[in-house]
Amino acid sequence: MNAENTIVYVKISGRTRDGFVDPPKFKWDLEKDKKLWSKVSRFGNQKKTIDWVRLSRDFETPEYFLRKRSYRLFAKHLKMLEQEIETKTRGLTAGSEIEDTDSANNNEEFEDNDGGEDDEFLASEGLKNLRSSKILNQKVPGDARAAESSLSELSNLSVSKSALEEALLDRLQL
């Protein structure tokens, strides 16, 4: 289907021609489409403007068609890029999510380890402090030293208790 074997009639209801002139018949095919894209896709690199008049002359095609076709090609190209970016972003997001999960797990492990070490350190320090405490030494069961000291202190206490009892009895004159 091309300009040679196909004709299009556009029937416009409710409008008069008002001087409108039908555009000329022209040939446009895939080869020309490729050439147009190769020219307009370079727009912005070195060329800041597109010389539509020149393109129209070179392609022997009306300017309006070149403009619309270029717009359509750019629009499709942008859509393709958008899809590509979306795919890659999705891939990156999925990758970073996996990394985040891994690092979170690792951190948890590290935290657990750190916590464990800290707890162990604190526990051992605490235990040292507890063991060095005279008060608790007296109350720690099963500790030989503690038992010895507590026995001696108990005996001291019992002596004291006897003295107090004696003093009380004396005071009460019993």
């Binding site: 289907m1 091309n2 300009a3 040679e4 074997n5 196909t6 004709i7 299009v8 009639y9 556009v10 029937k11 416009i12 209801s13 409710g14 409008r15 008069t16 021609r17 409108f20 039908d22 555009p23 018949k25 022209f26 040939k27 446009w28 095919d29 895939l30 489409d33 490729k34 894209w37 190769s38 095609t61 009306p62 309006y64 068609f65 619309k68 076709r69 359509r72 090609l73 750019f74 499709k76 190209h77 393709m80």
Partner: protein, 138 residues
Amino acid sequence: MDAFVVTVVDRNVKHGLAPALKFGHPDHESQALMFACNVKYIFEDDEESVAEGDDGGIENVVVIETNGGLKVTNVELISERFKLLEYETAEDDNHEVVISAMSKFEGLGEEFRELPLERLVEIYRLRNDQLESLFNTL
């Protein structure tokens, strides 16, 4: 008034069998895309002699009907080789009409006889789908 741009996309499975485009052209349908660049306008005040001219080799006729606001209301394709499937106008341009058509089924050619069975089954299924969509337009 802006001129209309009419493109026709042939949905025939044969275009999908051709090697993919290698030149980075953004229009993936280019191989099946045809440009109808012989457009005549018929206004209310035109006389009926519009169809006259040197259009001897015409095989396909597309008739696009619009209302006063230039909104496309109907599209008709008269052809022995193509059947209209559907049409649409571009979302951002009422004057750009894209016609989906199906070209006449042809033999796949000798080169396709070498295709693996899975690919042939795939083509068979595609053609069945196309026949079904054609049938639905009747």
